[in-house]
């Protein structure tokens, strides 16, 4: 669901950078200091895994694309801010080396897929994990996917409202185009992936892994 470079004007991308930059600094200081030496390799591996699963993108006419995100798992295991940092890193690598997303839209994409989604998922996880852990993980990932998709669709709709010549597709077209595949397919697969990966991590019994 990345927004590619050139889909959003600086009217939206610059404020998103202004919000993201201090959050990156704060999150890095809080979660990637010397105390993170134990967890950094696992975080790096999960980030790489998120990168790999995000490369399978299905273009969505009227919107951008739909794909798995995979960082809700990081929010459940560590903290939503860790997910935000790692998703930002994934987006940066994709923008620099693979031409997906982009540097101007990095703030928007990071906030939507790295923060809005994982925070929503993490709240669901916190509320439901005592009732049934697997169901909570599935629902958390599904909700995270819907929240991120809604955020991306809202930003594209806002861009159209600001300047219809710049982004010519109205919200009435963008919203269903983005949300329908996410509700029915990618959200469900993301939920299944998160439950599966969580159980694998438990079995692997790695150092530096403990659910938040």
């Amino acid at each position: 669901m990345h927004v590619p470079d050139g889909f959003l004007s600086p009217q939206l991308t610059l404020p998103a950078w202004a919000v993201s930059a201090p959050l990156w600094t704060w999150a890095a200081r809080r979660h990637f200091g010397r105390a993170a030496a134990e967890s950094l390799p696992v975080v790096g591996s999960l980030t790489a895994l998120a990168f790999v699963i995000q490369t399978i993108m299905i273009p969505v006419p009227g919107g951008t694309s739909t794909h798995l995100v995979g960082v809700t798992l990081l929010a459940l295991l560590y903290h939503p801010l860790v997910a935000f940092l790692c998703e930002s890193l994934v987006l940066l690598v994709q923008a620099l080396f693979f031409g997906a997303g982009g540097i101007t839209v990095l703030g928007v994409n990071a906030l939507a897929m790295g923060l809005v989604g994982p925070v929503a998922g993490w709240l669901v996880w916190k509320a439901l994990r005592r009732l049934h852990e697997r169901a909570a993980a599935f629902l958390a990932a599904w909700v995270a996917m819907q929240a991120a998709t809604l955020a991306v669709a809202a930003v594209l709709g806002l861009q159209h409202a600001l300047d219809g010549r710049y982004f010519p597709v109205p919200l009435a077209v963008v919203l269903p185009a983005m949300v329908l595949p996410s509700l029915t397919v990618t959200g469900v697969v993301e939920g299944a992936y998160t439950v599966f990966a969580l159980s694998i991590l438990r079995k692997a019994n790695l150092r530096g892994v403990s659910p938040a």
Partner: protein
């Protein structure tokens, strides 16, 4: 005589100019200005232009041009009247130009050298890039293994079923490998 390594300050300055140029390009919606920018970029990055164009043509143009055309068609279907073509053409051209500029500049910058003042960022980037490479290799290997075990071409269901069994082993291997890289970098002062 061995060539001198690139100056990190020059690398960072190039990155800063690239970011400013990309933001400036992202503000343009006029097709004539985008056309002039394309000509200017062609002159500025003449060396290796075909390799960069090939990369943009392979990784960006099919998706964004396809999205522009299909979005135009969808907007036509929803609204009942054909929307103007120029904004959709500008959208596709703008994304292609930004991708061209990005690939052209980053081909001339050593990113890890530019990040040298921030060791933690360098370490996370190195670990992640290494793992991306390792996971891509492992995914290719497992797909080759699956192909060799089947008499017919593997279907999506075969791939999913096969992936389930090996993901745990792959992930454990990847995490251990990442720990080795991370420990090695820490002992070298990162």
């Amino acid at each position: 005589m061995a060539s001198r390594p690139p100056d990190p300050r020059r690398q960072r300055a190039l990155l800063a100019v690239w970011i400013a140029a990309v933001f400036a390009l992202s503000a343009v919606s006029d097709l004539r200005v985008l056309g002039a920018s394309a000509a200017a970029l062609g002159v500025l990055f003449g060396r290796g232009i075909f390799a960069t164009l090939r990369r943009v043509g392979r990784s960006v143009v099919p998706v964004t041009a396809g999205l522009s055309v299909s979005s135009w068609a969808l907007a036509f279907a929803v609204q009942g009247t054909p929307p103007p073509l120029a904004p959709f053409a500008a959208l596709a051209l703008r994304t292609a130009l930004i991708a061209f500029l990005t690939f052209a500049v980053l081909g001339r910058v050593n990113l890890l050298r530019a990040l040298a003042p921030w060791p933690a960022a360098t370490r996370l980037l190195a670990v992640t890039l290494g793992q991306i490479h390792a996971l891509r290799l492992l995914a290719t290997d497992s797909l080759d293994g699956l192909r060799s075990r089947l008499v017919r071409k593997p279907r999506a269901r075969d791939v999913v079923r096969g992936a389930g069994g090996i993901t745990a082993a792959l992930f454990a291997l990847s995490a251990r490998n990442a720990r080795d890289v991370s420990d090695a970098m820490r002992t070298r002062g990162f």
